[in-house]
Amino acid sequence: MELTDKLEILADAAKYDASCASSAAPKRSSEGKDGIGATNGMGICHSYTPDGRCVSLLKILLTNFCIYDCQYCVNRRTSNVPRARFSVQEVVKLTVDFYLRNYIEGLFLSSGIIQSADYTMEQLVAIARELREVHQFRGYIHLKTIPDADPALIEAAGRYADRLSVNIELPTQSSIERLAPEKSVHTIKLAMGAIRLKLDEKADEPKAPRFAPAGQSTQMIVGADASDDQRILSTAETLYGSYKLKRVYYSAFSPIPHSPKSVPLAPPPLLREHRLYQADFLLRGYGFQVSELLPQSGNLALDIDPKLAWALANRQHFPLDLNRADLAMIARVPGIGLLNAKRIVELRRMRRVRYADLSRLRCSMKKVAPFVITADYTPARDTTPSETLRRAMAERQQQLALWPELQAA
């Protein structure tokens, strides 16, 4: 089979993985050195496809042969899809060629399970090793870890990769048992735990061998089982807390060819995925807890963003005096993001904050207005019921950006 054919099949098979970021790697440069590749700590998107998602990495599977039978996965053994397998050399060559032409920032490599978890993991590690040692490639490498693999292989993977990920895929044990019979929450958690121990060890002992400097991440599929957003976010919160993940990615379940009956036929609204990313961002960046965003079981609102939903449900904190409140609270005001919250606090060291400042900071005035007090402005206190505000501020139902960090929150 030609390289193009393999690429066609194995990229198609990899597109269900939501992870794309190439950020958080330490800065590296090839200036004046043999080999190629640099990282600047920030990550760069090199293109966008018509689904609105960015292309920043060569995201492919080593092979889509797989002996597992995960129901949500197009590559499961009972799925009737064309199969292909790259050689180690082919993946290395594609990565280097694409990198030199400035198409990508690096490689995101995953694989179906062939023969055994250990065998598959060995192949993934071999590719990363070849890139790093033979080609002295200093670009970004993300390896998807096979949870059942020998910890020694995970350790080796961490020596070459910038980031490791172990996908939890589904938010509850019972869903995993039902939809991914060969997987085990237990080994998934053990793999994540092993990675965190290694990361901690490296953090405490700078001379320890290099280990996944950009940390670990995971992915959860949304809408393949009946779990609601509260369940999904609680699982995410638990994973963040237990394994210090850099990111949890949420991937709205995509219908797959010859879909088995055990998974839904229709995808969930993409907007649900977007709200989960927004909520996740509030957990990581703003100090929110799941119990604040979703005190009861259920889903996030689709018509308004989670921060606005929280503010409308907690009117007792508002309106907030921007000339007195602390930074964390200012950042909780709908329409004011972390960056603008910092700017407001900076500005008020020089002078009092006025209403017009907010529009110069490009805050969404419609959102901000009922929630703030400034030197020259006080909203009519508690006169507008939350329901009315909500109707006024609801977004028209539409598809939105899937990567909230690319937008001002």
Binding site: I9, K15, S30, S47, P50, N80
Partner: protein, 492 residues
């Protein structure tokens, strides 16, 4: 400012600034002489000034004169590095009045108007917007510039790119590619300048090409294959794509040519399954492996790990069983695994474990004869900020988990049990109402064994008062000593 002084040092007339370095030099001299922004006319190109050539000649002379005399005559200008960096960045923004504007910012800042840097200030907002546009252009050039590979027999440069930057960002962008490409040679051509990297050094030149270089590059076909296949038609959202890359850049991206076809395919069918048409056309195959064969060989999970007697398993990594010799004389019972124990799967490996180790040594206890476990086998925790903080297990959880402690007691059969802390004591005595303090003075007999009670080592680490910490350590050592004596047949 005295009019006479400025007339002497700086006759009115245009000041030439072809780049930031020239502007900075000029601005430095103007500022220390307190020449106000309104009285300076800035020029970008010497050629702009055909009509003004006479004036320019004068100004040039003045420039030189200033350079010699000014640094000593005038007080030094102190500008914070962050401000200079900001000005330098904004200077790459293509605006006719860029030098005049930057000078006004510097002028206002020098007069103590620090808000000139704030977004809430009119000049500040413009400055920031300029800097942002420049950074954005830099970013876009990092992202959307494409190298084509030239045939090897053509020699250097091996890679060639054409780009039309909207701001003056070529020099800094060239640095980015120097870091990226190592010793490989390349060239970036733009409508007004060219940079060339020979593998060791950068060379700057005037415009060399008039448009994109037409080079047959096979890599491009592979790239388009990848681009088509990584797209998920089930998520079609072309507007979003266009909102990320402005039209200006699409023109030179090879993938732009295949987008309409992809969108059309997605709209007619591919959307249902998310699979690309090319892949769907091929014949497929299932993998003939039976379900039993596919099951990975996992270490048989210990029954403990499958325990669902309470809810604690859900948020923990694993159940942590006790460790120690099969017929240990002493069993130490702690409360529950902590953050580290949960990850490692072993009891007492964290800081509390270290303290316990130390106490055993102090008490002369032979470690090899001790079995160490916990009353509750799964880590119970709550999130504080980004950390998992230990949370005391509820009585029902202690009761549920007693099942496992009992198993261990039956199997190991220790003569002495040391309960470390109140939770452990409650579990060992199977009585949720007991008070640790009441049991600390003397060992008691329970179900045919000695039970010695003392503090949990974590308490001895955590209690804020230094004296109390000392006392707690001493108490733990004393209790272990008592326990050890009991196993040696000593009296209670």
């Amino acid at each position: 400012m005295s009019g006479a002084a400025s007339a002497l040092d700086w006759p009115a007339g245009p000041v030439l600034a072809r780049d930031f370095a020239e502007w900075r030099e000029a601005a430095r001299r103007l500022i220390v002489r307190r020449v106000p922004p309104e009285s300076i006319q800035w020029m970008q190109h010497a050629g702009d000034a055909d009509l003004l050539s006479d004036v320019l000649a004068d100004a040039g002379a003045a420039n030189d004169a200033g350079a010699e005399s000014a640094p000593h005559a005038a007080p030094a200008l102190r500008v914070p590095r962050a401000l200079m960096a900001m000005l330098e960045c904004a200077a790459c923004f293509r605006a006719i009045d860029r030098w005049a504007f930057l000078y006004r910012v510097l002028w206002r800042w020098q007069r103590g108007e620090q808000e000139v840097l704030s977004m809430a200030d009119e000049d500040g907002a413009r400055l920031q917007a300029m800097a942002k546009a420049v950074r954005r252009e830099e970013h876009d050039m990092h992202a959307y510039l494409r190298f084509r590979e030239r045939p090897e027999d053509k020699g250097a440069p091996r890679f060639v790119a054409w780009f039309e930057p909207a701001q003056d960002v070529l020099p800094q962008v060239a640095q980015h590619f120097v870091r990226r490409m190592g010793r490989i040679s390349w060239m970036i051509a733009t409508p007004d300048a060219t940079v060339l990297w020979d593998g060791a050094q950068l060379h700057h030149a005037a415009a060399l090409l008039r448009g994109p270089a037409d080079i047959e590059d096979e890599g491009e076909a592979l790239w388009l294959t990848y681009y088509r296949s990584i797209f998920n038609p089930a998520r079609l959202n072309a507007d979003l794509m266009h909102s990320h890359i402005t039209t200006r850049f699409w023109r030179h991206l090879s993938e732009a040519a295949v987008v309409p076809e992809m969108v059309a395919q997605a709209a007619t069918g591919a959307r249902r399954t998310g699979q690309s048409k090319a892949v769907g056309r091929r014949s497929g195959t299932t993998i003939p492996v039976s379900a039993e064969q596919a099951q990975p060989e996992r270490e048989q999970p210990r029954n403990l790990d499958e325990c669902r007697r309470c809810e604690l398993w859900q948020n923990a990594t694993q159940a942590v069983a006790g460790q120690g010799p099969r017929h240990a004389k002493i069993m130490l019972v702690g409360e529950q695994p902590g953050d580290q124990e949960d990850l490692a799967g072993k009891p007492f490996v964290g800081p509390a474990g270290e303290l316990l180790e130390w106490a055993m040594e102090q008490a002369g206890m032979d470690r090899r004869q001790v079995y160490i476990t916990n009353a509750v086998k799964h880590f119970k925790w709550e999130l504080r900020g980004k950390r998992r903080l230990h949370k005391t297990p509820a009585q029902r959880e202690v009761l549920a988990c007693h099942y496992w402690l009992q198993e261990e007691l039956n199997q190991i059969g220790p003569g002495v049990v040391v309960a470390l802390g109140s939770t452990a004591l409650k579990s060992v005595l199977q009585d949720g109402g007991v008070n640790l303090k009441d049991y600390m003075d003397e060992p008691v007999q329970h179900e045919g064994r000695w039970v010695v009670a003392t503090y949990h080592p974590a308490y001895a680490l955590r209690v804020p008062d230094a004296q109390a910490r000392e006392d707690a350590r001493a108490a733990i050592v004393a209790a272990l000593r008592t326990a050890w004596r009991l196993t040696q047949g000593g009296a209670a």
